[in-house]
């Protein structure tokens, strides 16, 4: 038993120990500042390579899973179970001709292919991948995520403006409207959790869930749903993929891009989707905590579970219109998030923290909010519901007859 526990501990801390061992080895023949610098550099390299590696794998993963949701097999030809499909895709993308439209704004057009990736990698820095496995434990972690995450909009808007293309411009306008609208409920929903934690640091959010012995999804289910919905819109995925809108505006902001520059957008999009899942897993599902398995394994299990839910939504729901999208954000999500925040603040003052009583109180509070809003709004939804009138076949054929 002792041995098993030590083995688990070893596997759990393998990456942390590796980094510690490397720094002690370097300290033998390098001054302290050089070791610190090199270790930071190595961490950044690991994160970047992790991002680049995971996009390759996530791409195949998503295509296979969405295929299953749509009654077909995904790629299953190249390699075992089609797992090497990503290699073929990469070779194809890298060898394609790189075209810059003659009328495009060259500087902005070319710069825009690089800009969206930078924030995606920056976000990875504050995510705790396991116990002690965080590149930078900022005390303003969540604020940093919000600030850096909204930088991606600039890249997309640069791409849409620099392309000098009608579809791209429409897509850029949609992107800005959508991202600004959904940023608000996304942040507001997490503020409820931050009230319980009392800190913005991602590590302390995970620690707080250890103290409660419950993931925050139990205490704040409404906030989780709001956050996840807003996050889907934030990373431009179906059913909120209006900026791409293949059937309306061809491909949106990356319509003019080809080859490696197109691959950059793809990369940014997939890593963004991965990182919102990772953030949701950290804030609401308890992060790296879990029994038996090593902490980083739990983190990836939870993240990939949420990613499958993302794919599941994409495989199920049709795209919404831009007016429906904004209406949903401002009329449904923002009021819900505000109500949740207000009542959470009240309940958090009244009930004891880190106890079962508190958990039950928070759960009851969420139920009250959901039921209350449903009761207040239901007559109106009922009224606004589109009525489908079934006309009998004989009557309709008479009407259309000569």
């Amino acid at each position: 038993m002792e041995l098993v526990q030590r083995l688990l501990e070893f596997v759990d801390q393998i990456f942390v120990n590796l980094s510690f061992w490397a720094s002690t080895q370097l300290a033998n023949f390098l001054p302290e500042w050089a070791v610190t610098f090199l270790m930071m550099f190595a961490t950044v390299l690991v994160l970047v390579f992790f991002g680049l590696g995971s996009i390759i794998w996530i791409n195949v993963f998503e295509r296979k899973v969405i295929g299953r949701f749509q009654d077909r097999y995904g790629p299953n030809r190249f390699g075992p179970f089609g797992l090497l499909q990503c290699v073929a895709d990469m070779i194809k993308l890298l060898t394609k001709e790189d075209i810059t439209p003659t009328k495009a704004d060259r500087l902005i057009y070319n710069l825009a292919a690089v800009v969206p990736i930078i924030p995606t990698f920056l976000i990875l820095a504050v995510i705790p991948f396991g116990r002690g496995m965080v590149a930078a434990d900022l005390n303003v972690g969540f604020l940093y995520i919000v600030a850096v995450g909204s930088l991606g909009t600039i890249g997309i808007f640069m791409a849409s403006w620099g392309s000098r293309n009608k579809y791209a411009l429409i897509s850029g306008l949609r992107t800005v409207a959508q991202m600004i609208s959904y940023e608000i409920p996304m942040v507001l929903s997490v503020v409820g959790v931050l009230l319980l934690v009392g800190s913005l640091s991602m590590v302390s959010i995970v620690d707080a869930q250890a103290q409660w012995r419950l993931p925050f999804v139990v205490l704040q289910p409404l906030a989780f749903v709001i956050y996840f919905t807003a996050a889907v819109a934030e990373v431009n995925r179906a059913p909120f993929d209006l900026p791409e809108g293949e059937s309306e505006i061809v491909a949106g902001y990356h319509i003019e891009y080809s080859g490696i520059k197109f691959a950059m957008f793809l990369l940014a999009e997939y890593i963004n989707a991965f990182s919102v899942c990772a953030i949701a897993a950290t804030i609401f599902l308890g992060g790296w905590q879990g029994p038996i398995l090593p902490s980083w394994a739990w983190f990836f299990l939870k993240t990939y579970f949420l990613y499958v839910v993302l794919i599941w939504l994409r495989g199920t729901l049709p795209r919404v219109r831009i007016d429906q999208l904004l209406e949903f954000a401002w009329k449904t999500l923002v009021p819900l998030a505000l109500a949740n925040l207000m009542i959470t603040a009240l309940v958090a003052k009244l009930v004891p923290h880190n106890s079962l009583v508190g958990a039950v109180a928070f759960l009851a509070m969420n139920v009250v909010v959901i039921v209350g809003i449903a009761v207040v709004k239901y007559p109106r939804w009922r009224k606004e519901r589109r009525q489908v009138v079934l006309v009998p076949r004989s009557a309709s054929s008479e009407a259309s007859g000569p």
Partner: protein, 183 residues
């Protein structure tokens, strides 16, 4: 509107998701389910209905217009072609060249050579329609690809007759539906 429709839709896709894996387990060592493609496409069927192309093929339709083949009269054991040259004249892309043999066989004119160029053929089927003896038919060949547009795509008399023997042994085209099977 409260989101119940979303949950309902998601349950449908989840069932599809599970069903494809269940189908995989049932057909385990094979890549596709046994039975025809059309059986799998029914609305009551579960699981993926992707046609796993190189391993599994869709049967060609009886009137599928593939490369032409020459039919043989099984009673006379002789080609039905009388080398009249109508196919050569009617071909819009001049893909057919026929020459008549100097002597008749069994009191019938026969072609000495017949050259069919698949490079230029557009599979319009005029030759098959105009043939007075019904000597031409469309073979159900789907894969006509070649690495170069050379001799590989120019078929001669022997090859055309061989295709006729293979795909229409009765000497009639179109072949009955139950006999029209994949190549």
């Amino acid at each position: 509107m409260i989101g119940l429709g979303i949950l309902k839709g998601m349950s449908v896709t989840l069932r599809r998701f599970v069903d494809t894996y269940w189908g995989d387990l049932r057909q385990f060592p094979r890549r596709h389910a046994p039975g025809g493609v059309y059986e799998r496409m029914g609305i009551t069927e579960r699981g993926a209905f992707t046609i796993q192309y190189p391993e599994e093929r869709v049967p060609m339709f009886p009137r599928y217009r593939g490369p032409i083949m020459m039919l043989t009269d099984p009673e006379k054991d002789l080609t039905k072609c009388i080398a009249c040259g109508l196919c050569e004249r009617t071909c819009p892309t001049e893909s057919i060249k026929v020459t008549r043999a100097p002597e008749k066989i069994k009191e019938q004119n026969v072609p000495e050579s017949y050259e069919y160029d698949m490079n230029t053929c557009m599979f319009c089927g005029f030759c098959v329609q105009i043939c007075p003896t019904g000597a031409l038919g469309h073979s159900p060949i789907l894969e006509t690809g070649a690495y170069s547009k050379g001799d590989a795509l120019i078929l001669n008399l022997e090859q055309l007759l061989e295709m006729g023997h293979k795909y229409a042994p009765e000497g009639v085209w179109p072949v009955e539906e139950k006999e029209a099977v994949a190549s």
